[in-house]
Amino acid sequence: MMQRDDVPFLPRGVRTCFDRVRETEVLLGPERVLMLDQVGVAVLGKLDGVACLSEISQALSQVYDAPLDVIEPDVMAFVQDLVEKGMVHVRPH
């Protein structure tokens, strides 16, 4: 199970790109395309391979002026789903 101090990152072979035809940000990985909404773009934009999940949640809580206890479960669930799809990897802090 993922911990709050795990550091998520996009592994080799997974990248975001702007889809000019559909005019949306997408996440591309092995045999998978995920259309990203605003929240997805915001979370993935914070994956720098240094910040842990709890730091990412704090940063987003400030940017969106929303309580941490609302933001953090969303961030954890979003990243956990991508980990299970193999689109995000995590390493211990």
Partner: protein, 361 residues
Amino acid sequence: MSDRIDPPMAMLAELTHRCPLACPYCSNPTELTGKERELSTEAWADVFRQAAALGVLQLHLSGGEPASRRDLVELVAAAREAGLYTNLITSGIGLTERRLKELDAAGLDHVQLSLQGVTAAMADRIGGYKGGFDRKMHVAEVIADIGFPLTLNAVMHRANLDDLEATIRMAQHLGARRIEIACVQFQGWALINRAQLQPSRAQVDVAKAAVAKAVEELRGALVIDFVPPDYYSDFPKACMNGWGSTGLNVTPDGTVLPCHAAETIPHLNFEKVQDLPLSEIWYNSPAFNAYRGTDWMPELCQTCDRRDIDFGGCRCQAMAVLGNAAAPDPVCRKSEGRAVLDVLLEQDVHEIAAPEYVYRR
């Protein structure tokens, strides 16, 4: 049905039908295209640019064996330049360390390595190519050293389905992020060899339980995608996610198909990239519009609550088993065609001594 036609997400480019292996379940057509009719490097590069402009995000470079193309590195570079996520579907034969490094430098995103068996004896018998397994294992090591993300694509059937757990262990051993456990679908060469390839119900039950267990145990460590043997299913697969909805396939000679087996439907006429722009073919060709959406469907599918789940199943399977591409997929328990499929299945699993494989050559 929605009148709007969405742009395609994925394109399968069958660069060549040439292949050192001769797997008896090959998805290529039984009539293979020769080297002299293959598209040139520049023609493929143009198709990649057109595909990206049309909305394709993912490109699968396949064959045959794509490494049989001398210009593979150039083709990968062209695909990346066009902005496509580029996946190489290969047996590994023909890929040296030097060539893999060149593919890395050209920007190849992902490798899908086929697996014919977990032992040299099995793999080389299925591939009809002695020494192929050892070379594949070497290629897998180089892939891991370079760091390419790897999917292992294990095609399963009667002879190797009992090795399922060992197959999953091999994916872990090779450092794969993902394994596709694909039970043979009966099209092309596999249809000729159906009696030898069809697993038994007991094998299928054991395999399904093993997959379910592995999915739980390896969650987060290995992505497992399972394509079940559909003669044993109650409802059809959502073939191609619906005809002309998501993906397209370009054959070695530039013919554009809604799926790799579509040419088995004799009354359809398929356009070539040499004659028409790709977008014109996708949006307007009669072949792509033939089974698009739901208007073409028989009453049974039109009124079915699974209409938008499986889209009536596979047109090529309806053609192959029933001789009518517009019939419901005969896998469907609700359809009249199911009785025909059940007779075939009964014959397959009660064959006393299955004949030898007919190899794809």
